[in-house]
Each structure stands twice: as structure tokens, then as C-alpha cells.
Amino acid sequence: MPEQGQDRDFGPSTGGSVVRPYGDTTGDGMVQTSFTLPVPPGPKADGAALQLAQKMGIEPAMVVHSHGIGSGGGAAGDSAAFTFFVVYGSVRHLVDLDAVHVEERPYPLLSPGEVNAAVKTRLRRSLVVLGACIGTDAHTVGIDAILNLKGFAGEKGLEYYRELQVANLGAQVSVPELVHAARARKADAVLVSQVVTQRDAHLRNTRELAGAFREAMGESRPLLVVGGPRFDPAMAADLGVDKVFGRGTTPGEVASYLVHALVPEEASA
């Protein structure tokens, strides 16, 4: 494959701050990709795939395979409206490792097994988690996704964690009720989800929640965690809670945060 002269400088011998994909030779830049275009199979489709590959920076590109989709895959293949391609080729792009910055979560993401082990060995009792939807919000879909065994996005909910003692109070729980329940059950953490955002109801409700816990329990209040699709995770301090989770949060992230916030680093003596 023809190489431009300057590319030869980017092998490991240069110290490796700039790299290219590796097929079978250093610096060959080889990648493999697959995609579908909404065109019937044929020479024109393959040409279209090559054009896309070139625009993606793959040059030269090879369409190593293509087939029609949507016609049953049999003799009527030419009636298909879509074509699937597998493309191999060399990308022009370079990766500058010095320019790679990784945003790291301030706490590690733990598996359910690791969460259970951390709670068991370092807290030495189960962690009590209370969940609810507050105010008039009847949409329990968020708190259910985090707490229910069924879970969300392929992850099991917190009920699945042996060392977490989870109670889901459901929808339309009043703040005083929630404070009462948290006290009665000695909750370590209270999780609240809010979907309805009319006239910023989610923000008002959250401030009310934080205020009520502060007033009733002061420093000994449980960890307060809120979540919902319209929350900005940077707002925790402003709202008076410990943590805000936004759209797409999975149970594993919440469990990992609970361990980070509530379980001592070292086993207590």
C-alpha cells in the first residue's frame, strides 16, 4: 500500500505519542467497518459505499462484501431497498495520544458483586436505601428503573444487590411522609425521581425535600440523591442535595455512588 513519506515517522520508534490503527504492519492504518445504505444492491451501491468510506477518511477503501436487506435474502435479492456493506481500508487520520484527555468519574464503577463485597466488608451491615416519587408526580418509571429487580439498560436494579436493603415507597409520597419513613427505617440514602417538570416542579420539590430533611434531621440526615431526565447533574449543591443524576443513569452508577459516598474506605477496626 503506498505510504506518504511523513507517515513513516509515526511508528513506535518516535516515542509513540502519535499512532495509527494497526492491521498487520506498524503504521498501516487499517480499519474495518460495516454500515447500511438505503439503496438497492449493485455496482452503484458499492460505489456509494466507497464514497462514504473516503469521506470518513478511509483511503484506499475496499468494499469486501455487500448484500441486500429486506427481501428475504433469496432470489428476490435485487428487490431489496437496503444494502449492507463490510469495508476495509486505511485511514488517513492520526491519533495524538498527548491530546487524549479522559474525563474520569470521581468514583469507580463497581459490579454488583463488588458493591456487595464493599458494603459487607467495610460497612459490616446492609445499606438501607429508600426510594420514592414525591409531590404530584405519578411517573415512577425512573425510580422503578433504578430500584426494581428488572432494572434498566441491561443492568439489574438495586433490589438485586444482596447487601442493599431497598424499599420503594412508590408515587405521590409527601415529603413529611418520606422524612418519617427515612427516620423509621434508619435509611442511609434516600433516592427520589422526578419526571414532571411543569413550571420547574422538579426543582421546587427537590428544594423542599432538602429543606425538610435539614430541618428534621440536621447533620444526621440520610444521603439525598435525586434523578430525572430534566435534571442538570451540576445542580446538586444549588438544590441542597448530595447528588443529582440525569437522563440515562443506570442502577450500577447509582450503586457505585452509594458505596463511594457511604461506605468507609478502609474496614473500620
Binding site: 460495516s34 454500515f35 447500511t36 436487506i69 429486506g70 427481501s71 428475504g72 435474502g73 437496503f82 449492507f84 411517573h139 415512577t140 418509571v141 422503578d144 428503573a145 426494581n148 429487580l149 428488572k150 441491561g154 439489574k156 433490589e159 438485586y160 420503594n168 412508590g170
Partner: protein, 525 residues
């Protein structure tokens, strides 16, 4: 067909214990009714639509009427007696609903001759709905006779889930043309916890499409078109689970759906729905499915997504036996039992494929006449799509080799994205290759008596019998066992969970024309 030599005494013992464990559950349905059962009765009698005023026009009339009856006279007599008494000699259910909306409906519980008249009128109205379900069953049989069944087993089952019924339709038709025999439309996240059934054609589901009567009708009509085009009857599946299980079952019967997800314990364990609510709702929904000629699919695969597929294999067998018992009791026949199980053993476990074959053959041997539902790997799909494609190939091979009835097509992009067009196409190519290359391999494949597979199947069956012994030993059978956390996953108390406030103890004069009409048929069968 490959068969294991199962210990028949042990098999008989397992069934006897399952019957004993399930008996208290059967009694529950005779003792209680639920708001959803009562609403289902009104749906059978033809009440549709929503109150245009209440709750942004989302609240169905069936909810409004049942709630009004409950407020005024309680639900312990059932909705039928007060509703048809209020109708008197004239008017329709729709008129009555509008009176409820206007706040002018007055309900009383009739006695004597008035009660007889109300009972008779309600039987006639509900009977019309059941007649429509019967007509749909006959129509299905006719269409199957015309177009034909899939040419081989297992039937290929594919999921569609865009959230928009008008996007689902072309995708479902494309999937059928590409070889799918069964189309399942996954429901929107959270629908199972709604205590009403949404209405009309919907375009805004999240990670799935709402189950509504109109969506059912639209999709069935689209699949009828494609069935005629392909010369093969393409079946439609949805989900009779969650708080509206009985109503969804009725809608499925009214709109000629062909299969429904319907598990005995799934809602309790995984959705924290009250056990009494679930068991009462479930019995009604299963009676309707039995009548409609619908094949149910049970949810045992779910256990293996939370528990270890080797250590907890016997819980799948136990659940299958309980589901079988509760299905037979509600009038379902063996050919209607799509008992679930799944290919979820960690591929890193030595001999994992032989263990999978053992478990699958055990299910095949225990339920020889049931169209078992074989579910693909999800737990050990890591995002490495190449490894996932291989794993799905082995899953397909296990399905062919062990005579599974319904094969849910595995996607290599499981846990990555909702399937793309190309993912479905590649997945169907995988299935086609395996079935064409090895679909008849079961003719040559017989596990050696006393060999690894045979011994493993026997171990799982023995463990299942031991667990059933423990469940049956509880005074309240299955109900108490669930409260004690016997299934290892979670504890669910009989007076906890969602939907408990919709459970009502029946009064001696409780009248439920639907159950009455359906039971008459069951006992005749």
C-alpha cells in the same frame, strides 16, 4: 426427537408437588376480584374509549365506570350487577359511561328478580365479546389453513420496538419477509405499572410501543397482508403482564393476537406487583387466552438473567412446572404452553454448551407436547459483537438440536443498541444457516444414558423436586414461599407491592359473567 430417559417416578412427584404448591393460588382467584378483572369484563361487553374530560383524556371509560361503582356500592359484588342494573331496560354501556363522566350515574346493587335481570343482561353483553373471540380463533385457523404454518420448527420469533406503531409496521413486515414467523411488539418502558390501558394508535413509546387495542388491530392487519404475500401465517405477540393483565388479554382475544407473554410470577418478583393482584389477574387472563387459542409464553428466562444459570437451573424447572399447573387449571392445553428457558450459562464455564443442551433437553423431556420458548443469550453479551454472533450461532444450534418450539432470535448487538436493520438481517442469516445446515441433526443426536448430559439433567430435576418439596411444605404454598424469598431473588409479601388497593374480596353474590361463561367452557373441555 432426542429424548432423555427421565426418571418417571421423579417426574410424577414433581407434578404432584407443583399442584400442591399452586393450590392456594388457585383458591385466591375464587376468593378475590380485582379492578382490572372488572374492567376486562366491561371491555368484553364492548365498552371502549376514554373520558374526554378526566386526566387529559387518557382515562379509559372502563376505569371511570369501575371506579364509580366502587365509590358508590363497592366492588365486592362485581361491576356487572350494578352496571347492568343501572342500564335497566334501555341504553348502552357507552351511555352509562357518559353519565359517569357527567356525574349523574347512580349505582345500586339489585336483589331478587332485578338481580336476575341484570345478570342475564350482562351475560348476553359479555357473551357477545366472547363470541368475537371465538370468531377470531376460527378466523386464525382458517388463515393458517389458507396460508400455512411455518415450514419447520422452531418458529422464528423477532422483536420490533420503535415506540411508534407506524414505524413498527414496516419493520415488522420487513422482518416477516426476511423469515420471521412470529413478531413481538415490545411494550413501552413502564406500561406494566400503569393501572389503565392507553387508547388509540400511539407514536410516543419509550424503548417500546404501548399495547393498545388500536395498535393491536393495526399490526394484525399489516401482518395479515404480509401473510397473504408470503403464503405463511405470521403470528403476532404482545405482553399480558403488569397491572392490566386481564384487560390486555381481552384486547388480544378481540384483535386476534396469536401469542402473549404471561408468566405466573414475573410481575411479583421483577415488578413488585402485589402477589394477590397478580395471581387473580393471571387466572382470568389465562382463561381468556385459553378461549382465544392463544399460545402463552412464560418468563423463566428472566430468572437466569439475575441468577447463575448453572446454580439456579432448577428454579427454571420449578417455575415451568408451576406455570404448567396454573395454565392447565385455567383451561390452557399443552400446545398453548410456550414455557420459557434460556441460553444464559457463562461461556467461560467449561462444558457450557453441554450444560445448555442438558437443560434444554430436560425441558423438552418434561414437556413433550409444549412449544418451548427458547431465549437467546443476553447476560454474557458483552458488546463484543463478533463473539456475540458466535454465541448466537451456538444458541441456534442448541435450539435445533433439542427440538425447541419457538426461537427468539438473538442479536449480536444485545446490550449495545436497539437492533438495527442490519442486526436483524445478520441475526436471521445466522438462524437460517444453522437450521438449514443442522436443523435435522436431532435425528442423529441421542445423549448417552449415564453420560454427562443425562446426568446433568437428572441432577437439575432432582434439585427442582427438592425445591418444590420446600415450597409445597409451606402452609400457603407458593404465596408463602415467595414471601420467604424461596426463589432466591427477592422476598415479596402477600400484602405488599403495587396494585394491592385494586384487590377486593368477593361478596357471596359477586357476579362475574365472563368467568362464568369461560369456566362453563373449561369444564366442558
Amino acid at each position: 426427537m432426542s429424548r432423555l430417559q427421565l426418571d418417571q417416578a421423579l417426574v410424577a412427584r414433581a407434578r404432584e408437588l407443583a399442584a400442591r404448591a399452586a393450590a392456594p393460588v388457585v383458591d385466591l382467584a375464587a376468593t378475590y376480584t380485582t379492578v382490572s378483572v372488572e374492567r376486562a369484563t366491561l371491555r368484553l361487553a364492548g365498552l371502549t374509549g376514554t373520558d374526554p374530560v378526566d386526566g387529559d383524556g387518557e382515562v379509559p371509560w372502563v376505569n371511570r365506570v369501575v371506579d364509580a361503582v366502587r365509590d358508590q356500592v363497592g366492588l365486592e359484588h362485581g361491576v356487572a350487577l350494578p352496571a347492568w342494573h343501572a342500564l335497566g331496560s334501555g341504553g348502552t354501556l357507552q351511555d352509562l359511561a357518559e353519565q359517569v363522566g357527567a356525574g349523574t350515574a347512580r349505582f345500586t346493587v339489585p336483589e331478587g328478580a332485578a338481580a336476575d335481570r341484570a345478570r342475564e343482561a350482562s351475560r348476553a353483553a359479555v357473551g357477545a365479546g366472547i363470541a368475537r373471540i371465538d370468531a377470531n380463533r376460527a378466523r386464525r385457523e382458517e388463515l393458517v389453513a389458507t396460508h400455512g404454518d411455518p415450514p419447520r420448527r422452531p418458529w422464528i420469533y423477532l422483536i420490533v420496538a420503535t415506540g411508534d406503531i407506524y414505524e413498527d409496521i414496516p419493520q415488522a413486515q420487513a422482518a416477516a419477509r426476511a423469515g420471521a414467523d412470529v413478531i413481538a411488539v415490545i411494550r413501552s418502558t413502564g406500561q406494566s405499572l400503569l393501572d389503565y390501558v392507553p387508547e388509540g394508535a400511539t407514536r410516543t413509546g419509550y424503548a417500546g410501543t404501548y399495547a393498545t387495542q388500536e395498535n393491536f388491530r393495526l399490526m394484525r392487519a399489516a401482518l395479515d397482508d404480509v401473510s397473504a404475500e408470503l403464503g405463511r401465517y405470521v403470528r403476532l405477540t404482545n405482553y399480558a403482564s403488569g397491572l392490566c393483565m386481564p384487560e390486555i388479554a381481552v384486547l388480544a382475544g378481540l384483535e386476534r393476537l396469536d401469542m402473549m407473554l404471561n408468566d405466573a410470577m414475573y410481575g411479583i418478583l421483577f415488578r413488585d406487583i402485589n402477589p394477590h393482584r397478580t395471581f387473580v389477574d393471571q387466572r382470568f387472563s389465562r382463561m381468556v387466552h385459553a378461549r382465544a387459542g392463544i399460545i402463552i409464553n412464560t418468563g423463566e428466562d428472566n430468572y437466569l438473567t439475575t441468577a447463575d444459570a448453572v446454580d439456579e437451573a432448577h428454579t427454571v424447572t420449578v417455575s415451568q412446572l408451576l406455570n404448567e399447573r396454573l395454565a392447565h387449571e385455567a383451561g390452557l392445553e399443552d400446545w398453548q404452553l410456550g414455557l420459557g428457558h434460556a441460553f444464559e450459562i457463562d461461556p467461560a464455564v467449561p462444558e457450557s454448551f453441554r450444560l445448555e443442551l442438558a437443560h434444554a433437553l430436560l425441558a423438552r423431556g418434561l414437556f413433550p407436547d409444549a412449544p418451548l420458548k427458547w431465549m437467546p443469550p443476553t447476560k454474557h453479551m458483552t458488546g463484543d459483537v463478533f463473539r456475540g454472533y458466535l454465541l448466537d450461532g451456538f444458541f441456534n444450534l442448541a435450539g435445533a438440536l433439542t427440538g425447541q418450539g419457538i426461537l427468539l432470535v438473538g442479536m449480536m448487538t444485545e446490550a449495545v443498541v436497539t437492533p438495527w436493520l442490519s442486526d436483524r438481517d445478520l441475526a436471521l442469516r445466522n438462524v437460517r444457516y444453522v437450521l438449514e445446515a443442522a436443523g435435522n441433526l436431532h435425528e442423529d443426536f441421542a445423549p448417552q444414558p449415564g453420560g454427562f448430559i443425562d446426568r446433568r439433567a437428572h441432577t437439575v430435576l432432582t434439585e427442582a423436586v427438592e425445591l418444590l418439596e420446600r415450597i409445597a411444605a409451606h402452609p400457603q404454598g407458593l404465596i408463602q414461599a415467595i414471601a420467604d424469598g424461596t426463589f432466591g431473588i427477592t422476598k415479596r409479601s402477600p400484602d405488599g407491592g403495587k396494585g394491592l388497593d385494586g384487590v377486593v374480596r368477593k361478596a357471596p353474590d359477586h357476579h362475574d359473567p365472563a368467568t362464568e361463561l369461560l369456566t362453563r367452557e373449561v369444564s366442558r373441555a
